[in-house]
């Protein structure tokens, strides 16, 4: 029977006389083999090295099967095991854990004989059949966590799980382009997930529309002026609310068909890049350092920076070539931001989607991603602590093809344009 957990305390307001804690991160050193686990986890997979001959999973990662010396391959793994040992650490020489003790870890016997050290969800008990999940910790490194009941209504009341995820609950969210259908849907989904407050960025506030009215009608939402193409606008908003943004969602979107020769020209492309690419940079210049400094600000810490990207950031779709290019540039900058955020505890998450269900895709065949689904999956990925999330069938398909053979995908997409 699963024990019930008391709810996590609601964050209290920060004592202004207290120093903001410095960001601490758990140990980040891994071998290259060990990093592979992080790369798998970043994509939301549970994969372990398996022996090519005897098919047994192997852990910790090695260069050969310890049973028969055959080569290994990373494959989807059975994640169930038995909790056979546990301890509650009351102290640690690593500052990150020292600040967070007591901390519970255990040994899970995976697949009968593979010992896996794991963080323990509070509901796990010795002897339980447990399910392992991979999360990226605050060092962006994959770690196992064991659960005895993933369907428990109290699942999210676990403080160790909260350390590994970016749950919007109790947190304050900035949606940078809230006027879009995705922006409105995100505001709703974040509210549903328990976000404390949502700052809805509105560009060209002199243009009123139904989206603004919908946002203004939501109790959790405060509309704020934010024009991503205007450096001063971004700076001014950061000056006002920079210290309160726990999750930033860069969801700026400006879909226009057209490529390079048969496109809408430089002026149009420039505006697209101004908003998406330079908009990202403006946000990074203003909000980035503030969020970085607040990565460990107690329970009110800055926790995630989310980018809404087209899956065609990976490979250009000529029908929407300029759009793909702007997203590719943003993806590259997001990778850069990830590097610069290392050590801060702030996760940079990329949410890749295929064509969205919106006016500018009216000539694109389904399946298309609705704004509601997009928002729901972004919230789910935050709750799951993911680094990359692919939303919808097209995004997953393109991602799979990209991983399988990037060159082949490029050629296939070029063929689509004919």
């Amino acid at each position: 029977m699963t024990t019930s957990l008391p709810p996590l305390p609601e964050p209290v307001r920060k004592d202004p006389q207290k120093k903001t804690p410095s960001a601490l991160i758990p140990p980040s050193a891994r071998s290259r083999l060990g990093m592979r686990l992080s790369a798998e986890a970043a994509r939301g997979r549970f994969r372990l090295p398996h022996c090519n001959a005897c098919n047994q999973p192997v852990w910790p990662p090695r260069e050969a099967c310890p049973a028969c010396l055959s080569s290994l391959q990373w494959r989807d793994a059975d994640a169930t095991g038995t909790l056979i040992a546990e301890t509650t650490l009351e102290t640690s020489p690593e500052l990150y854990f020292r600040e967070r003790t007591p901390w519970r870890v255990g040994t899970v016997d995976l697949a009968g004989g593979v010992p896996v050290m794991a963080h323990l969800h509070a509901q796990c008990r010795i002897g339980d059949t447990v399910t392992l999940r991979l999360f990226l910790d605050k060092a962006d490194r994959a770690v196992f966590m064991a659960f005895s009941d993933l369907d428990s209504p109290d699942l999210r009341e676990d403080i160790q799980l909260r350390e590994l995820t970016n749950d919007p609950r109790h947190r304050r969210v900035l949606i940078t382009d809230a006027r879009t259908p995705a922006g409105v849907a995100l505001a709703k989904a974040m509210t549903k997930a328990g976000a404390k407050r949502i700052f809805a960025g509105i560009g060209d506030a002199w243009k009123r529309d139904a989206a603004i009215e919908a946002l203004e009608g939501m109790e959790t939402v405060s509309t704020v002026p934010l024009d991503l193409t205007d450096t001063r606008s971004v700076e001014e908003l950061c000056g006002e609310i920079g210290g309160k943004v726990d999750i930033l969602v860069h969801n700026a979107e400006q879909v226009r068909p057209g490529g390079v020769m048969a496109g809408r020209g430089i002026a149009d492309a420039k505006q697209l890049h101004e908003k998406l690419v330079f908009g990202f940079m403006r946000l990074a210049e203003s909000f980035g350092p503030v969020m970085r400094s607040r990565g460990a600000d107690g329970v009110n810490a800055a926790t995630a920076w989310v980018n809404l990207l087209s899956v065609y950031a990976h490979a250009n779709w000529p029908a929407y070539g300029q759009h793909s290019a702007a997203h590719a540039a943003t993806l590259s900058l997001a990778q850069c931001l990830r590097g610069e955020m290392q050590g801060s505890g702030v996760r940079v998450m990329n949410a890749f989607a295929g064509p969205l269900e919106q006016d500018w895709h009216d000539q694109v065949l389904p399946p298309k991603v609705t704004a509601d689904r997009l928002a729901r999956e972004i919230v789910g990925a935050l709750q799951g602590g993911q680094q990359d999330v692919y939303i919808g069938d097209v995004a997953r398909d393109v991602a799979e093809r990209f991983e399988d053979d990037a060159k082949l995908l490029e050629m296939e997409l070029a063929g689509d344009g004919q």
Binding site: A205, K207, D227, T229, R232
Partner: protein, 272 residues
């Protein structure tokens, strides 16, 4: 031109020397005042709203190059970017399809003699207050002339609506069917061009036409008729309430942009 020629010209027209001397004295003593008719170039100043499938005018933007820092220790400067038709701006004839084949129709070729001239200000504030879609007709011009005399040839005519005091959403006044703001009707523009031979026409609103002018005949009549006849437009003017109906001098010189269709500019008026 040599200094001698300049002296010759002055000798040939002794009265202009006196006029300019008088102007200088008047400016120095502030008996002649200068009124600024320009809005501040501001990133959030509205620009004309067109359907999204059309190309869009870039709003004013400013990025710091350096600020007495590592990027330039002793100096502070910016890069700016904006569309030709952002902020308080000037429309050259080439801006509209009707004026595309005219000679000297671009900002770098238009005759500078036309950029300073007398100005008539027609007060339509009451009508515009009452009706966002007020269209100034020939009758309004006739009423103006009945009170202040006929509009002289080679004048600027400005339509005063009080619109420049509006801010943000009220300024563009966007509804589901588009923008709503006052302007001239086609007949009035045709009258000013054909019967009064004006240099150009200016408004406080975001265009020389009404907000709903796409539905006029021809669409955007002020743009179509003014530029088709080689006349100029001024938009987004401010402080028109500080001008007398007649007797002021307008200075409106656009940037000398190669093949420019318009230009943001500082518009000044000299008033008695």
């Amino acid at each position: 031109m040599s200094a001698d020629n300049a002296t010759d010209n002055a000798t040939d027209h002794p009265d202009t020397v006196a006029i300019l001397a008088g102007l200088a004295a008047g400016l120095a003593s502030a008996e002649i005042k200068i009124v600024d008719l320009t809005h501040r170039l501001d990133p959030d100043f509205p620009i004309i709203v067109l359907p999204p499938e059309f190309g869009q005018c870039a709003p004013f933007r400013m990025e710091e190059i350096s600020r007495y820092d590592a990027r330039g220790p002793a100096w502070h400067w910016h890069n700016i970017s904006l569309g030709e038709h952002a902020g308080t701006h000037f429309d050259a004839p080439i801006h509209w399809i009707s004026g595309r084949d005219l000679p000297n129709n671009t900002t770098d070729t238009l005759p500078v003699q036309k950029l300073v001239g007398q100005v008539c200000v027609i007060d339509c504030e009451a009508e515009s207050d009452a009706d966002d879609d007020y269209e100034m007709g020939v009758d309004k011009i006739a009423a103006f002339e009945a009170e202040h005399g006929e509009i002289p040839a080679q004048s600027w005519v400005l339509m005063r609506t009080g619109w420049s005091r509006r801010r943000g959403a009220d300024y563009i006044n966007l509804r589901a069917d588009g923008a709503h703001s006052p302007g001239p009707d086609a007949a009035a523009v045709r009258f000013l061009v054909e019967q009064r031979d004006i240099i150009g026409f200016g408004t406080e609103t975001v265009g020389t036409d009404t907000g709903q002018a796409v539905h006029s005949d021809p669409p955007y009549p002020a743009h179509y008729i003014l530029h088709g006849a080689g006349r100029y437009g001024l938009q987004c003017l401010a402080n028109l309430d500080q001008l007398p109906p007649t007797g002021a001098i307008l200075v409106a010189a656009p940037l000398k942009i190669r093949q420019g269709t318009g230009s943001p500019l500082r518009v000044l008026a000299l008033i008695p």
